[in-house]
Symmetry: D2
Subunit: 360 residues, 4 copies
Amino acid sequence: MTVSAFDHPILGALIGDAEAAKCFSLEADWTAMLAFESALAEAEAALGLVPAEAARRIVETCRDFAPDRRRLAEGVARDGVVAPALVALLREAVGEPHAAFVHRTATSQDVIDTSLTIRLKSVCALMESRLVALVETLSRLAARDGAVPLMARTRMQRALPITAADKLRAWREPLERALARLAELKPRLLVVQFGGPVGARGDLEGKGDAVTEELARRLGLSAAPCWHVERDRLGEFAAWLSLVAGSLGKLGQDVALMAQNEIGEVRLAGGGGSSAMAHKSNPVSAEILVALARFSAGQLGTLHQALVHENERSGAAWTLEWLTLPPMVAATASALRHAATICEGLRFVEPGAAGPEAGR
Amino acid sequence: MTVSAFDHPILGALIGDAEAAKCFSLEADWTAMLAFESALAEAEAALGLVPAEAARRIVETCRDFAPDRRRLAEGVARDGVVAPALVALLREAVGEPHAAFVHRTATSQDVIDTSLTIRLKSVCALMESRLVALVETLSRLAARDGAVPLMARTRMQRALPITAADKLRAWREPLERALARLAELKPRLLVVQFGGPVGARGDLEGKGDAVTEELARRLGLSAAPCWHVERDRLGEFAAWLSLVAGSLGKLGQDVALMAQNEIGEVRLAGGGGSSAMAHKSNPVSAEILVALARFSAGQLGTLHQALVHENERSGAAWTLEWLTLPPMVAATASALRHAATICEGLRFVEPGAAGPEAGR
Amino acid sequence: MTVSAFDHPILGALIGDAEAAKCFSLEADWTAMLAFESALAEAEAALGLVPAEAARRIVETCRDFAPDRRRLAEGVARDGVVAPALVALLREAVGEPHAAFVHRTATSQDVIDTSLTIRLKSVCALMESRLVALVETLSRLAARDGAVPLMARTRMQRALPITAADKLRAWREPLERALARLAELKPRLLVVQFGGPVGARGDLEGKGDAVTEELARRLGLSAAPCWHVERDRLGEFAAWLSLVAGSLGKLGQDVALMAQNEIGEVRLAGGGGSSAMAHKSNPVSAEILVALARFSAGQLGTLHQALVHENERSGAAWTLEWLTLPPMVAATASALRHAATICEGLRFVEPGAAGPEAGR
Amino acid sequence: MTVSAFDHPILGALIGDAEAAKCFSLEADWTAMLAFESALAEAEAALGLVPAEAARRIVETCRDFAPDRRRLAEGVARDGVVAPALVALLREAVGEPHAAFVHRTATSQDVIDTSLTIRLKSVCALMESRLVALVETLSRLAARDGAVPLMARTRMQRALPITAADKLRAWREPLERALARLAELKPRLLVVQFGGPVGARGDLEGKGDAVTEELARRLGLSAAPCWHVERDRLGEFAAWLSLVAGSLGKLGQDVALMAQNEIGEVRLAGGGGSSAMAHKSNPVSAEILVALARFSAGQLGTLHQALVHENERSGAAWTLEWLTLPPMVAATASALRHAATICEGLRFVEPGAAGPEAGR
């Protein structure tokens, strides 16, 4: 099944992003869910809520546990979430007398949301490193080509001369602000989810917050009160993704416009071929940036619908996040990749310097 | 890579739809693209534009051609579309002296859009048969439970008594209209795309329209002037998908509300378990319907951005369709599947007949 | 208050549309609501459910009834709908002994949805006449300029020569399909809403359907079972609006691209000035078309969220329609107006014929 | 014209917000635009770029300048922006020999974006004060009703007992984070726009940045390089608005669900009447919150399309912002108002304490 272009064996090479996709593989999810169950057992053992031996057995079992995919798929189709089946399988594997200490006082949402958060931490690191590299590439471009004269165009008409440095600044500054925003939002995003069935951290002899602290520490996340129905944390991150993709969409649209034959203010390395016209060199990556920007904006508008998360757990709103957030991550990661490709191969060209084909 | 929940090996069992996904598999796409290349060669041969022998060789080669995936992926990453690489591979396979007659006067968009259309024909058939079956299920439900008294609720408050028949009618009628709309739009949707590099059907000795007629006939599609930049055909179908998903979302929301413990106006077969609360029976399919409706609405708003398809081919707008239309098809197919599951297992319950747990 | 650009005393001249806006004026709404109350009284009188004298008194009172705005505003702020206050005021004005026959067995949604439908009938007529005129303008343009050679551009790069006729065909055909679709959907859209409190047409001595027929006939609408929770009728029309706006957005984007100084394939009449650059002539209407297309797509994605209309009346979903549908109508009407302005003043220009400024 | 419900003379009382709307009145816009022209003249005079006398004359003229609305409307319809006509009128009013110093080296976008920013400063203050008040109201509610037992409901089914304090915490925390985010984003949002025709601050004898500093200081805004094409500043704020509206949508949805007759976990003050059913009390404000949340999410997805702001000024993208941002501000302001109304009149009710009507 390859319904999504991000997952498509062929199109994925163009539109997708292998590194981002890794964060949403089944294996990454399992690994993170098992890390949660391990850390939970340890945290509860540290606080005397789970016998040390049970915790050891759980940690050990999680280490190389490979759940039965068929039973997971059946479970998710029945329960709407993967956790009940996963926990049942893990309990089987842990065996008696420790099975009951697996997932103790936790609920499906704890393990699923925390797994997502663990993987979003990797996503943030990926985005950050790509953004930093892209900002550097743009700075190098400005150092090399900044003085090249360009024509500013307002409302699609020639206006007055500017330089490539002006254009590059307009591409770079939003990315610098994106880095600043990411630093601000990470403490709100990378927070362990732990609340138990209804978010109240019950049945923990009053040690719910302490368990959370321990659990967070072990997972490299922050602790906070249970946020299971407070989806602004994810909504904020999604908005950040769309802001980045949108800023790169502007870069792509500018490049596609400057690369028009009659304008020829930039030359691109690469450029896609046509099945019918051998003379063409298409600004494929620039167009993909525009597509990903528009896609991301639309997904954001959809994901924010999930902020209306009714009661103490909304299957509807939660599922809507699952449908929209991973593609948003993939889109922005892919946009950063395409922007890097463009900027690494881009040359600003002086008017009249474009050679005999200019203005054709 | 499983960025999309529709493609996820586990979640896909819940959210996805195997039959719809088949239409978007690599194999289905290849098969349809090769059907196009075959039919084109035959159509052009019928009109004396391609030697009969070349056409035979092309048809034969297409029959069990398995293109090299790696080269296709490289091609799509370079060209932004799969067609140039596919055509090159097919020409290699056909060999001299016939290679040049492969894809003759066609362009990437011809083969890609027509492949999509061929598969959307299957999608329409799938949707239609599920809709018809669901309408029948709802009619049977009305025949059996229609007289059960319910409380109408307006603005989330008890209003006045109605019957299950009233509720079922409100679920059924939009689906009947959906069937009527589908019949109306199919002649606009299931149209072969054939225009050559810039849509003008050039280089065909004035036989462009005749080739199109022949091509369409062979592919079981309608003929029309080239529509490569007229994306309202797809935009209309996407709106249809969202209307169906939205109407089923209403059904799902109603079921989830009626299934609340204190209200208990329906009983559901199945119902999902909880990893923490054994006593629960969650209306999973009903929630999924709500999620898919909201997802579909959001995708529609995104896909309609692609109506702004600039010039004679927009890489940006076209890519945006690829990102949004297949998930929309999967969502609506999945919604029809979940609605069938719900309705087949649904029982309307008289107030007071819900047993000792009612009103808890 | 001028929160919306469509209502802005200055911006409205650019973005809004006076004729479309008239359909959403308070006066138009009142007039339509009073037409409903009048026709309902007559219809019920015709079927012996309301005394003839009461009906006469109601019709007479409605004729020049001007409700107290302040009380309506208070009412809507309290009740969430205008109808209870309007009915109360109308009953006061009708006076005893007939007051009780005002709005007999009807509910708020009946009068409000029917008022909308009455006005959408005018909207459809407006859209249709503008579409027909625009199709004619495009045909005239093709007759005059069709032979002018243009360069086709695919993926933002020069491809092969076409003619203005090719471009014009691509603009015209989606509008012709829009007319066909409008003819198909009108019977589904222009349907009276009548159902009483919970949609069941109760308290009418079994004459509910007959009343509906009479009511519809008097209002120039079709009759059908009550559709109060079946919002696909409106969702379909909204999709139609977005398809039209999107198709015109493509026209606008093409014009803005062809009007670029270096390309100069079209000349526009008018063109906006700049506060800083006297030499500029901006393709304002073309840009507005793009903006309205993107706006309409986004609103459609929002309005389709309202298809999830829970139970027998959803204040939330209904309000969401009120927030999105009128701006969608205004946007598409405005787009049709701008497209007419562009096309009436457009000249396709042969390469090299653009005069000394060409290619600057 | 009252296309938008926010501007509607009757519906506006329900859906709109008078204080927010004030920021988007024609008068507020003029006032802010004239403040810009005044401050610019002063700033340029302070740096010796404009004669002191000219600056005095400009400041004086701006003080009670009332531009001719008809000419502004004609101007905006022609130019796509109001600024050229406004500047022409202001120059007329200033008269010779100072007229030429009006708007010196500035461009339309400088005055229009800065006017928006000046008004967004008021919007931020309004939002902040309402958020602070709402957080306090929720804290007071928790102090009074926090111990009331409620039933947690997950996936629309009864789960386990919680207390009102749990529910209130889930409503309050996202608002506290919204306040933290607002403090972070304000320095990025409240920045003067000044760049001249193409953003490069030319023709200012190298004093462009100094003028910007002076200008910003006089307007109470921050200075920064010209951001005319970097729309992430607005996109970030729009996302903030949608996060707030979405969080309040959750509150509204929870209230509407808890207020269901059979559940009765809250009692609301007020509650809207029905035109047909006197016994009803509708949770109108709660439903409006849901509608505004869904509306805001949709607008956000639309506004982020405007991040793709091509070249040095996009009439299309800019217009799209004008169409979406003011309604978003109004929606969030209205949501804060409705949430305050709900929370001030809300009482959590112990099960069994709801009186004889409970569980009906």
